[in-house]
Structure formats: C-alpha cells, structure tokens
Symmetry: C2
Subunit: 330 residues, 2 copies
C-alpha cells in the first residue's frame, strides 16, 4: 500500500545510500589535509583516536571532551598588530574628529600615526584606558555594529587581505576534526570577549557561548523596546591572560580541557591547566618561524617554548607542519 | 567482491532501516507526554515549529536558538528549603563539630535546628557569609567531592525522596524537546554555579558549560600535580539574580535567548531580556498551585505573575498542565 509513511520511508532510504558512501569516504579521507605528514599530525590523530575509543583505557566521555584555543597568533596572524589592536586604532581614528588636540598628544598621536614601536612599549594601564575609551559606554548592540563593520572591511596592512581571511587553514581543519570527534571547541583569548564573538561563528564555526575573553562589566538598562545590555567602562577581573585563563576556563566551562593550543607566554597557565588534569591531554604550541609565508618572531614566547620542551607539549613549526597557511577562499 | 568496505556498507544499511522506522515513529509520537493537552503545550509546540521552519518568516538559525531555565522551583521542588540551602545546612552540620558554641549562637543555632522561619527572615548579607563559610577556601576538586556526596544521598524532609528525584518530569521532556529541535538549553540560576554543575548533566542532561549561576572568585594555585583552581571567599559580581541574570546571560552566552522559563520575581529581568529581543520569543512562568502533588505558594512571585499576564507570557499551572509531576524512576 502506498501511503505517506511509505513514501517518507523510501525517501529516507534513498537519501541514505549516498550518505553511506560519504561516510565510508570520510573514514578514509585525510581529516587534516593542510598539515604535512609529520609528527604533529600523527600525534593529534593518535590522541583523538585514543580518547574517542571506548575500549582504549584512555577514553574520555563526549561531554568532557573540551578543547581550548588561544586566538591571536594561534588561530590567525597577529603581526604587526593583533586584530583587536587594529580595531582599537580604527576606533581612535573614528573618535579623533572630536579631539583635534590628539594629533599632538600621546598616546593618541602614536595611535593615529600607527607608531607600533611606541604602542608596543606603552604602559599596559594606559593601553587598558584606551580600550575602555573605545569599547565601552554604549549598548551591546551598538558595539556589535561597530565590530561587524570593521571585521567585514578591515584589511591587513602588509598581507593585503581582509583580516578575517588571515586565519590558519590547518587550525580550521583541526577545529573541524575535533568537533567531528565529539569535542567542544572553545576560544580562550586575551582579546575582548564580544569583539571575538562578533566573528567567531562566521570565521571559525565557534558559537558565541564558546568564546572566553577579556570582559567589560555590563549593566541591564531599559528603553521603550524593553531591556538591553549596556557596556560599562570597567573590566571584569581577572583579565583573560596567564593565570586568568585557567580561572576563566573554570568559570565559563567548568570542565578541565583535555586539548590546548597556544603560541605565547600568555598561554602557559592555560596549557598547564590542561596538562595537570587526571585525564589524558595534549597541548600544541605554535611557532612563528616562517618569514616567507607568515611572520618570524619569538618575542613573548621563549619561556613557553622552554616549558613545552620540558613537558613534551607538541611544538608546531609553521614552516615544517603547515602545508598551506591561509585558506585559498575564506 | 566482498571486502571490508562492502561489509561496512551492508552493516550501515541494515542498521539504518530500523532507524528509519524510529524516525517515522518519532515524528508522530507526542514529544511532551507528561503535559496535558492544554494551551501551554500547544503554544510550546507551535512556537518551536515556527522558529525551526526555514519558510516560516519566524525562522531562527540553529546557533541562535538559546533557551534559559531557572533552576529552583522551575526545574525541581524548592520547598521547604531550596536544594542548595539544604546543602548549606548540611555543611554547617559537618563543620559544627569544631564549634560547639554554635548550638547556642545564631544564625548557627537556627541552621542546626532547621528553623526555617528564622532562616527565611535572615539578613541576606549574613546568609551570604554562611555560603562563603561553607562553600569556599578549598580547591574546586574538594568542593566537587562534597557536592557529589550530598547530591547522591540527601533526601527531601517531606517528600522522602532523594532531592535529585524531585525534578519535574514535564520540564525534563521540555528540555529534551527543545534540544531535539536544535536549541541549546542553559540553566540560569541564583544558586551556586559549581553546585548546580555537580548534578546538571546527570539530572538534566545539561553539560557544565551550559550552567550560569552565582559564582565565587577563583585563584589558580599549584601543587606537585600541577595547577588547580582554588575557591576564594568572595563573590563574583553581580549575584545571578534579577538584573544580574540578564547581565550574566550576556557574559556567558552572548546571544539573547528566545525561550525562557522561570517561577519567581528573581526571574523577571531574565524573562524581560528574552522578550525584548528582535527575534520571536516565548516565556513560561511556572505557578505552584498543587498542594497535593507538590506545594502551593506564591510568595516572592506575585509581581512576576502580574508582568506575565500583561505581556502574554504563558503562566503554567502545575495543577492543570502537569499530567505527571515527578518521574517514576529518576
């Protein structure tokens, strides 16, 4: 008898046959094609197999498979200025119309002139004041609009691409591979929480609730449409760097991650937090050693590399491990 | 030719045929069997159909389908003491061996004697001091152990069941139904973040990272095993109640929820935050009006019901809407 249920059943069966072939293909296809067939790739695949195999003795249940990635310099390029610093400078440009005296007054002068030497040496407290000045005293909706405008148009000064195209293709594949194996992938960045959230889903497939970052205090306010969130000129403590990363991972996730990826001294505590748990764990530390395709630097990362070598964390040379650095098409 | 791929293919096809029948069955089965066929159930199903139908004009993409549930009195019984208060009293019992003078000294005397009248009228600041005294100055691992022990053994004084069995079966089904339709279900409670996390997955299927609650400050500390989280005797601000719930939803989730469930004045701002967005939304407010099967009270909820009536939030009478209150087997 042909009825609606039979038709539905037939549709499902015929839709599933090609799906089975894809599944067979997927099982044999290389999950990390932009990684060279070196030690890093082998270790990653072996780790994932181990924690997802219920009979391995190293099995980790799905809801406890947490991976944390630093953002700037780990998921995308951070030189000459990390992305949010570029946004900060852009915001100072925007506001400067109202303050003509800034052209002669530091640190605004350096910001307007893109004097990166000055900016890098600038006192951290002063830098934080600039962040507060450009990122707060507005509704969350207004901030989201400013962030989206910037992200969709801002180009890298040297590499001549949109910033959002400067993500590392191998890291996109690694995040997909982990998610395909039941991991929940989080970003844990010193950068601003809501700034990263403005592009995390579109660029990395990471939904907003899986972003941990440095955060401003909020206040609930009210207008004719109802209630909304207002961004106050004050940081939530701790700042999401160094030991703050371990603290915020506990606060936001509550489960100790088993997979960590970073690239600098600011990530040491996060990676140590990953490695100090009872469960099997794996850490990667990205090394910027490819002047030709990306940048070459180790400023602010030397201690991290020493600790990585001592603790058998996998050091990932961009030069040797990345077959491709940036995606062809974003 | 019979090879491993063909066998794998055959296994997949034969495994899928019964799966198709289950799928057909699932499409016709009642997703909310413990709800009576009244207005609430109809409105919930109609709302979910609308936001998940790409052609409805009210479609909400999967990654933005966020639902927030209050915990005490919304997901489970909160009388005569909400669960964490029971844990607080239990912790005071545990510690009291060291302080024999507590038997004569308030507020400890009231706690040891379970004098709920005294405890309810107690100054909030004093109550918070008791929480700090019993919940902090220990590692997160130590706290988890204490919380698990309590959750697995503590019985409700009147209903004579384990507390964790006093969840509302209709709410469990509602959470499942929402998740089956691509929603991400969060708990947003005035209760302690890590206390709720100690049972949220086992009892509600809500993983730790989907819990928002009142939080203590943490510090990263170090021992021979590596780094760990220490619970400091200090609250993170704001406390997760009233406008604090809207603030913390922004901080933790970053996307305005489209579905909210609460039961008291402490949930008003959360539900208003849900209702004030640009997307379609739905709010439920649970009414405790069933003295026979649960409890009857409206203390601390009157304003919420006034606002619910004005704004067409769905008021849910336990008496009329819940066919079953507690699960037969937890």
């Amino acid at each position: 008898m042909i009825n609606r249920k039979n038709i539905a059943f037939a549709i499902i069966v015929f839709a599933i046959i090609p799906a089975c072939f894809s599944l067979l293909y997927a099982q044999t296809a290389d999950p990390l094609p932009s990684w060279n067939d070196n030690e890093t790739k082998k270790r990653i695949i072996s780790f994932v197999k181990k924690v997802t195999d219920a009979n391995s003795g190293s099995f980790v249940p799905k809801h406890e498979r947490i991976a944390v990635f630093d953002n700037d310099g780990t998921l995308w390029a951070e030189k000459p200025a990390y992305f949010q610093q570029a946004f900060l400078l852009h915001r100072i440009d925007q506001i400067s119309d109202k303050y003509p005296e800034w052209k002669m007054k530091q640190p605004f002068k350096a910001a307007l002139e893109r004097d990166y030497d000055y900016l890098r040496k600038m006192d951290k407290k002063l830098l934080n004041k600039l962040f507060i000045m450009t990122h707060t005293k507005m509704s969350q909706d207004e901030f989201d609009k400013l962030a989206h405008e910037f992200i969709n148009t801002a180009k890298h000064p040297k590499l001549k691409k949109l910033y959002k195209e400067l993500v590392y293709q191998p890291m996109l594949e690694l995040m997909d591979y982990l998610r395909d194996n039941g991991f929940k992938v989080f970003i844990c960045s010193g950068g601003g929480l809501e700034f990263i959230r403005a592009f995390s889903y579109a660029v990395y497939g990471v939904p907003k609730e899986n972003v941990i970052g440095t955060t401003f205090q909020y206040e609930m306010k009210e207008d004719d449409k109802g209630v909304y969130i207002y961004r106050k000129p004050e940081f939530v403590k701790p700042i999401n760097l160094k030991s703050g990363k371990a603290v915020m991972i506990q606060r936001y996730i509550g489960t100790r991650p088993i997979f960590g990826v970073g690239n600098s001294n600011g990530d040491i505590q996060m990676l140590r937090f990953v490695a100090s748990g009872d469960k099997p764990s794996m850490n990667l530390l990205l090394m910027h050693d490819d002047e030709k395709r990306e940048f070459k630097y180790d400023r602010g990362a030397k201690v991290a590399f020493e600790i990585a070598h001592k603790n058998n964390w996998q050091v990932v040379s961009i030069k040797k491990e990345f077959r491709v650095v940036f995606p062809d098409k974003p």
